[in-house]
Symmetry: C2
Subunit: 257 residues, 2 copies
C-alpha cells in the first residue's frame, strides 16, 4: 500500500514544489513507483515534470469535483516511474467548490484510495495556504513533510502550521490519529552568511529529531531545472542539488523501517 506524504507550508516560496518534484524523482530513480499529486492552481509541479498543460484531457479538479476516475486523469511524466495527477488553472475554483460538499475534508482521501496501491509513494504538492485544499491533503496523507526556508518569515509561520496539523490530527481524523510528521526539511540555506545558520539552530531546537539530517543548500541548478521541464536528477545528476535530494530520499525510505 503506497505511503502518502503531503508537502505542506502556508508560507510562500519555501521550496514545496521543488521538494515534491525532486524527492519524487529521486525515489523514482531508485526504482520506486511514485505518484505526484499537484494541488496548486499555479501547476508548478505539473510544469516542472515536463507536462504541457494545454494537452491535458483531465486534471485534479475533474477528479475531486467532477466524476472523472482518478486513474483516467493520471499521466506519465518526463521522469521514469513517476506519474502525476496534474493541475491547471481550474484548481483555482477548488477551494469554494469543496466547501459545498459532504465530507468536504476527505474528498482527496476517497479519490486516492482507488489508485494508491499502484504506487510505493504518493507525494502531494500543496498551495501556499491552509484552506480546504491543504486540509484535504493532510486528511489524505500518512505523514507530512514540512519544508522550512532558512529565513525569518518562514520560521515565524511554523506555529500556525503546527496548530493546523494538530486540528487535523484531533478533530478531523480522531479515528485514525495517524497523521505523523515525516520530517522538517531545511531549504535554501545560503552558506555565504551566518543568518541562515541561526534559523537552522532555532528549527533544530524546536523540532529536535524531527529535522531531517539532509539540509538543502541554495543551488542554481535547482532553479534552472524546471525551466527545462526536468527534475534535478535528469537535468544535472552530479550537482549538489541532485545529491542532497537523493540523500533525502534515502532518509525517507529509512523512516519506513
Amino acid at each position: 500500500m503506497g505511503k502518502i506524504i503531503s508537502v505542506v507550508n502556508q508560507k510562500g516560496g519555501v521550496g514545496k514544489t521543488t521538494t515534491a518534484v525532486n524527492l519524487g524523482a529521486a525515489l523514482a530513480y531508485k526504482g520506486r513507483k511514485v505518484l505526484l499529486v499537484d494541488l496548486d492552481p499555479q501547476s508548478n509541479a505539473t510544469v516542472g515534470v515536463g507536462i504541457n498543460r494545454g494537452f491535458l484531457e483531465y486534471n485534479g479538479y475533474d477528479v475531486l469535483i467532477g466524476d472523472v476516475a482518478t486513474v483516467d486523469a493520471i499521466v506519465e511524466s518526463s521522469v521514469k516511474n513517476l506519474d502525476i495527477l496534474p493541475s491547471t488553472i481550474d484548481l483555482a475554483g477548488l477551494e469554494l467548490s469543496l466547501a459545498n460538499l459532504e465530507e468536504r475534508e476527505f474528498q482527496l482521501f476517497n479519490k486516492l484510495s482507488t489508485v494508491r496501491d499502484n504506487y510505493d509513494y504518493v507525494i502531494i504538492d500543496c498551495p501556499p495556504s491552509l484552506g480546504l485544499v491543504t486540509i484535504n491533503a493532510l486528511c489524505a496523507s500518512n505523514s507530512t513533510l514540512i519544508p522550512v526556508q532558512c529565513e525569518f518569515y518562514a520560521l515565524d509561520g511554523l506555529t500556525q502550521l503546527l496548530n493546523t496539523i494538530r486540528i487535523v490530527q484531533t478533530r478531523l481524523r480522531p479515528r485514525k490519529r495517524d497523521l505523523k510528521i515525516e520530517g522538517v526539511l531545511l531549504t535554501m540555506l545560503d552558506n555565504r552568511n551566518n543568518f541562515g545558520f541561526e534559523i537552522v539552530n532555532e528549527v533544530k531546537k524546536y523540532f529536535k529529531e524531527k529535522v531531517f539530517n539532509t539540509i538543502i543548500p541554495r543551488n542554481v541548478q535547482l532553479q534552472i531545472a524546471p525551466s527545462h521541464g526536468k527534475s534535478i536528477q535528469q537535468f544535472s545528476p552530479n550537482s549538489r542539488g541532485a545529491m542532497v535530494y537523493r540523500e533525502l530520499a534515502a532518509e525517507v525510505e529509512k523512516n519506513e523501517e
Copy 2:
C-alpha cells in the same frame, strides 16, 4: 485623496511583503503619510513593522467581517508616518466569511473609504493566492504593483495573474475600469549567475515600459531586517536594499505626475 496600491502575485515568496513594507517605509521617510494594510493571515507585514500580534485589540478581520470601525483597528508602527491595519491568524477565516456577504468583492473598498483621505498612500500586502481576499484588494485599489522574482516559476505564473486583473477590470469594476498596473517590479536578482538576467529580459519584452527601472537585487539586509521588526530604512539605511527601495519610492511618486 490617498492613492491605494495593492501588491499582488499568487506565486509565493516573490517579495510581496518585503516590497509593501519597504516601499511604504521609504515613502514615509520622505514625509508621506502611509497606511499599510496586511491582508495575509501569516501577518508578515504586521511583524515586519514591529507590531506584537498578542497586544492587538482589533485586526483586519474585525473590520471586514465584524463591525469595528477601520480607524479603531489601525495602529502606529515602528516607522514614523507609517500606520498599519494589522493581521492575525483570524484572517485565515476571511476567504470563506467574505463568500457569504452581499457585494463580497467590495468590502475592503467600503471600509477603506472612511480613512483613505488621512493618508497620501495606502499599500495593501496580499496573501499568495487569487481568491476573494486578493480580489477585494484589486477592487479597492487605484493600481496594482506586481513583484516578480527573477526565477522560472515566477515567470510562468504571470499569465494567471494578468487574467485575474483583466477580469476585475472588466467584470467587477466596469464602471470604474481604472485599475491600472502601477508597475512590474523585478525582485531578488542574483547577479552571480546569468539565469536571472534571462528572466529580466523575458519580463521586459512582455511588459515593456510597465517594468520599473528599479530592480531589487538579492540583499541579506532585506532578509534580516524583519527579524528586528524594522524596515530596511531603519535597520540598515546605507545598504543596497535601502537604496533601491528609496529609488522605487521615487519612481512611484513620479508615476503620479
